[in-house]
Each structure stands twice: as structure tokens, then as C-alpha cells.
């Protein structure tokens, strides 16, 4: 029983699902839940590195040779079952996802850990890695719905009335956006009879030579709206940032990573299906610009620290959308690289806020202050996080934002590079405002009543923040061990 038959890409999705189901059943018994949670977190962390890059056909039958060497390439190769592609970039995405999932689970390990909470995080890992790897649009739709449910459940875990209101809004929008994606898939299925993305890609290229059919445009519009919801773009950035700010900060770090990776994965699918439509890239660009600008604008005006970070996360997702919208190969590589970097950098800030929330129990920035000397290394790490998010040189986001800006100007949109630069400056202003209100302002009431020796908060947060800063620095100083994989991935797309 050699290893590569066990550690197959499908296991990356199957194992977290099994872990989620077991944890759900063990809800009552705390000790067992903690043990199973630790085991599942460790395995999820290790799995991406063990499974080697491969294309995995469910049910084992590879592409069916419709006709040998037929001149007309229409559907000469046909993927009958669901196909999972697991290459270097998917490994990168899922490895980062696993790190943040373990952060979300292990940070609150000191208090009572509820089985369902860890189960929902495992469900999130399973569905996001499935969306990243899957090559079959219906499989992606199913796991997007599971993703919506798990994120809503993680928001409900807080238990406050605000959380319930946000969860119901999120579920209603998730239901509608999911149905619109399914309607798009239904139209594609009725016209082409296929579900596999690469087959559809070939079938559509043949179909487009004779002019773009209206059905294709409506299907693209519907799936595009679904993509807007999943990635928190313009009309849905309010509900998305609401979800981030209502969930626990360590969970919000995990969720914003999910959203950015789903954004990139879904965009790749939509591009391969609908690149024929002329205004497609312009639409992605417009949506990216709007969500970037509105995200930062709202971040500047917020009074709650978690809402501020949520809007900054949405703005960075908008920046990735802009990069994808520009459409040249350099821009797309840079924006995928930026999605990876920004997921890491934002996580640092969310973790630092989780410590602050742990102490002050309030989100409102007006009631915070004076925590600089009370929380050990966290303020210093938070400062590094702020530099990381706004793209200061030693960090990784500098590498990617710099590449996006150059790609934007070389692609003939100098105005875009000006806008992107101003957005990163405005992000720095917003985050500095947050940093000042938390740490530098003079002490507040909660400080005086109990004399705060170095406050007891879970040391896990500091460990994870140091780890994330180290990764950010590592990628920032040596981008060449991450960037070429992304370039190969973009070349294999073959569509840009």
C-alpha cells in the first residue's frame, strides 16, 4: 500500500469533512473534543505538504477518448467524472489556509472549546480547498453553499443578537447568490451538456467563433453575480465586512483568507468559461476599483476596530480584483501573489485585535486605549502587521503591490496605478488610526479598576503572530520561491 495511493488530493477535502462530522458528534465531552481537535488540526496542517501534485479523477476513469486523433477537437477528450487538479499553487493556497485554520482553533484553546466551533472551521477548510482544486462547476457550487453555511455558523457562534441578524442576512444573500450560480450552471448544462470546466472551455471556444450566443452572456452574468457575493465585491461588501466584524477576530482572520482564495479560484473558472465576452475584463476591473475605493473609504470612517479591519480586508480583496481585471499575464500573476500575501498580512492584524478584544471586551474604539505596555509583544507585532498590510518594503505585500502597480501602468492604465497607491496610503492612515486608539491613547476605565500586570491572554496569539510575521518577511525578502509557481499556473491557464 504505497503512500501515493492514500495521500491523494481528494483526501484534502475528505479528511476535514470527516473530522467535522466526528467533532459534531462529540459535542458534549470536552476532553475528547480537545484531543480530536488537536489531531485534526495537526493532520490538516501536514496534509498539503504530503500529497504530491497530481490530477485526481474521481471514480478513477481518466479522460475518455471520444475519437482517436479526430481533426475536429470538439470534445475529443471528455472528463466523465469530477476532476481535482492539485498543483504547486493549490498546495500554497491550502497550506496557508491550514495555518490560519489552526490559528483560529488553537488560539482559544485555553477556554472551553466547543466541538461544533472546530467542526465549522474544519468544514470551512474542506469547502475552500474543494473550491480551489475542483474542475467541475457543480462541485464548486455545492462547496460554495457549504462555505456559506459554515461561515454563517461561525458568525452565530458569538451568540449576540447582532450576530444573528448578520447571519440571517448573510444566509438569505447566500441563498440567492447560490441560486443565481446554479441558474448559470443550468443554462450552460442545457446548451453544452457538460460540467467540466476544461471541456466547457473547449466547447465554448468552438461555439464563440460563430458569434457570442445570448444564453452564454446571461449565464456569465448570473455566475458573475454569484462570484461578486462570494468574494465580497461592491454590492456585497457591506454584508461581507459585517460578517467579518461580527465573528471572533481569530475566526475573521480565517474567513478573510477563505474569501480571497475563493475569489481567485472562482475567477479562474469564470475566465476559462467566459473569456470570449469582450466586456468581461472591463467589468471585473470596474467592480475591483469600486470595492477597493469604497472599502478603504468606509474603513476610514469606522468607529469599531473590527469593522475597520473588515473593510480594509474587503478593500484588499478589491485590489486583487483590480489586478485580475487588468487581464495581462503580469497583472494576473501579481494579483494572485497579492491575494496570498494579503491573506497572511491581514491575519496578523485580526489576531492582534483578538487579544485587545479579550482584554477590553469592547469593540468601540472610543472606549479603548493605553494597552501599549500591558500586552507584551502584541503592539510591536501589530505595528509590523500594519506595515505588512499597507505594503512596506521588507514585507511580502510590497512585492505584490509593486508588481500590480507596474503591471497596471504597463497595461496602459496609469490612472489605476495612481489609485492603487492612494488606496495603500489610505489603508495605512486607517490602520494607524486604529493602532493609535488601541495602544497609544491614554488609559481607559477598565485599566484603572484592576491593576494590569502583563495581562493574561492566550500566549497562542503571540506565537501565531510571530509565525505569520516570519512568513511575511520570508516571502517578502525571497519572493522567488513563491512567484515562479504562480507564473507557471497562469501560463497553464492559456487563456489570458
Amino acid at each position: 500500500m504505497n503512500l501515493d495511493t492514500i495521500f491523494v488530493p481528494a483526501l484534502l477535502v475528505a479528511f476535514p469533512l470527516i473530522a467535522a462530522i466526528c467533532l459534531n458528534f462529540l459535542h458534549g465531552k470536552d476532553r475528547v473534543v480537545k484531543a480530536v481537535a488537536i489531531i485534526s488540526v495537526v493532520v490538516v496542517l501536514v496534509l498539503p505538504w504530503i500529497t504530491d501534485a497530481a490530477v485526481y479523477w474521481f471514480g478513477g476513469h481518466p479522460q475518455v477518448e471520444n475519437v482517436t486523433g479526430g481533426t475536429n477537437i470538439v470534445l475529443s477528450k471528455l472528463n466523465l467524472a469530477i476532476v481535482y487538479k492539485y498543483a504547486a499553487i493549490q498546495k500554497l493556497f491550502i497550506a496557508i489556509l491550514a495555518i490560519l485554520a489552526s490559528a483560529a482553533v488553537l488560539i482559544h484553546f485555553t477556554e472551553r472549546v466547543s466541538g461544533v466551533y472546530v467542526a465549522m472551521i474544519m468544514l470551512g477548510v474542506a469547502s475552500t480547498s474543494a473550491v480551489i482544486m475542483a474542475d467541475d462547476i457543480f462541485n464548486i457550487f455545492v462547496f460554495l453553499e457549504i462555505l456559506t453555511i459554515s461561515q454563517a455558523a461561525l458568525v452565530i457562534a458569538i451568540g449576540s443578537i447582532q450576530a444573528y441578524k448578520t447571519a440571517i442576512k448573510y444566509l438569505i444573500f447566500g441563498g440567492i447568490a447560490g441560486s443565481s450560480i446554479l441558474l448559470g450552471i443550468a443554462i450552460l448544462l442545457n446548451n453544452y451538456g457538460l460540467l467540466n470546466v476544461s471541456d466547457l472551455n473547449r466547447a465554448i471556444t468552438l461555439d464563440i467563433e460563430a458569434g457570442i450566443p445570448h444564453a452564454l452572456i446571461v449565464a456569465c452574468a448570473l455566475i458573475f453575480v454569484g462570484w461578486l457575493f462570494e468574494s465580497g465585491m461592491v454590492p456585497f461588501h457591506i454584508i461581507k465586512s459585517d460578517v467579518y466584524s461580527k465573528a471572533r477576530p481569530s475566526v475573521a482572520a480565517f474567513m478573510q483568507t477563505q474569501t480571497k482564495f475563493v475569489l481567485v479560484a472562482l475567477w479562474v473558472v469564470i475566465l476559462r468559461l467566459f473569456y470570449g465576452i469582450s466586456t468581461f475584463n472591463a467589468l471585473v476591473l470596474g467592480v475591483g476599483i469600486l470595492s477597493m475605493v469604497f472599502g478603504v473609504m468606509m474603513a476610514l470612517k469606522q468607529t469599531e476596530i473590527t469593522r475597520l479591519l473588515a473593510y480594509v480586508a474587503v478593500a484588499q480583496a478589491g485590489l486583487v480584483g483590480v489586478g485580475l481585471g487588468i487581464g495581462t499575464r503580469a497583472a494576473v500573476t501579481a494579483s494572485i501573489f497579492h491575494a496570498v500575501n494579503d491573506a497572511l498580512a491581514m491575519a496578523i492584524l485580526f489576531l492582534s485585535v483578538s487579544v485587545v478584544l479579550h482584554i477590553t471586551h469592547t469593540v468601540d474604539m472610543r472606549k479603548m486605549g493605553g494597552l501599549l505596555w500591558k500586552t507584551g509583544y502584541v503592539p510591536f507585532l501589530c505595528l509590523l502587521g500594519i506595515f505588512a498590510v499597507s505594503g512596506m518594503p521588507p514585507f511580502n505585500t510590497y512585492q505584490s503591490e509593486f508588481r500590480i502597480i507596474t503591471a497596471a501602468s504597463t497595461a496602459g492604465y496609469p490612472e489605476l496605478s495612481v489609485l492603487i497607491i492612494l488606496t495603500s496610503i489610505a489603508t495605512l492612515v486607517a490602520l494607524m488610526k486604529g493602532f493609535y486608539t488601541i495602544y497609544l491613547k491614554e488609559g481607559q476605565d477598565y485599566l484603572t479598576d484592576k491593576e494590569l500586570t502583563p495581562v493574561s491572554y492566550s500566549w497562542g496569539t503571540e506565537v501565531f503572530m510571530v509565525l505569520l510575521v516570519a512568513i511575511c518577511l520570508a516571502i517578502g525578502l525571497t519572493p522567488q520561491n513563491v512567484f515562479p509557481y504562480i507564473e507557471q499556473f497562469v501560463q497553464t491557464l492559456g487563456v489570458i
Binding site: V67, N72, L75, V142, E145, I149, I161, I172, S179, L189
Partner: protein, 137 residues
Amino acid sequence: MSLETLFQPMCFLTAAGLVVVGLYAVIFMDNLLKKIIGVTLISDGVNLVLITGGFNKIVAIISPEQAENGVTSVIYEGLKEYPEFAAQAAYPLPSALVLTSIVISVSIFAIMLAIAIKLYNHYNSMSCSVIFKEVDE
């Protein structure tokens, strides 16, 4: 345009009708439960679209040489021996998809109702204007 050939377009129309009614309910109805019913109607309508797509032979995978001589819809080679069954068979793929899609929409529906009960207990009113009033408590 006998009633028989009209059956499939009519099914598409009912599905479209269901989706429109569902969307109307979600957007314009003030009661939270009515909005949740709207979401169910939309997902029912979309499932109906999926199934009616596979009703008769509109959907068929055309092998390359058939595409050359302009074949648009084809009976599967394997079904050559049963011509009357092949003539009426529906395309099996959508019905497999709709099975999962129905189950998913039921699970989302159940969670939404649970939250609706929780919100009712707090606000003891089901109308969205009361629950989602812009209040900074």
C-alpha cells in the same frame, strides 16, 4: 405547435415564474418568514430549470464526426438497440444535480428558520423593518 411540444417551454415559463415570485417575495415582503419562503421558491424554480433542460434530447454530447456533418442532437450510440426508449429518455445528469441542490436548500432553509425564531424571541416581531431598524444600540 401541439400541446406536446409546448410542454417543455411551458415548464421553463413556470420555473421562471417561480423565480420571479421568489425574488419579489425576498425584495418586497416585509415579513422575515415570507423572505425565507421567497428563497425556497427561487431554489425550487432553479431546480425546475435544471430538470426541464434535460427533458428531451436538447442536451446531447456530440462526438466530433457528428459535429462535422451538422448533427445537433443525437441518440446515444449505446441506445441504438432500444429506439423507442432512446427517443423518450431524459438526460440523466441534471436529475443527479438537483438531488444535492434540493438537500442543500433544505439545510439552508432550516438554519434560517432557527435564526428567525431566535430573532423573534428577542424582538417579538417578525417584520424586517422592526428587526433591521438602523438603531445603534
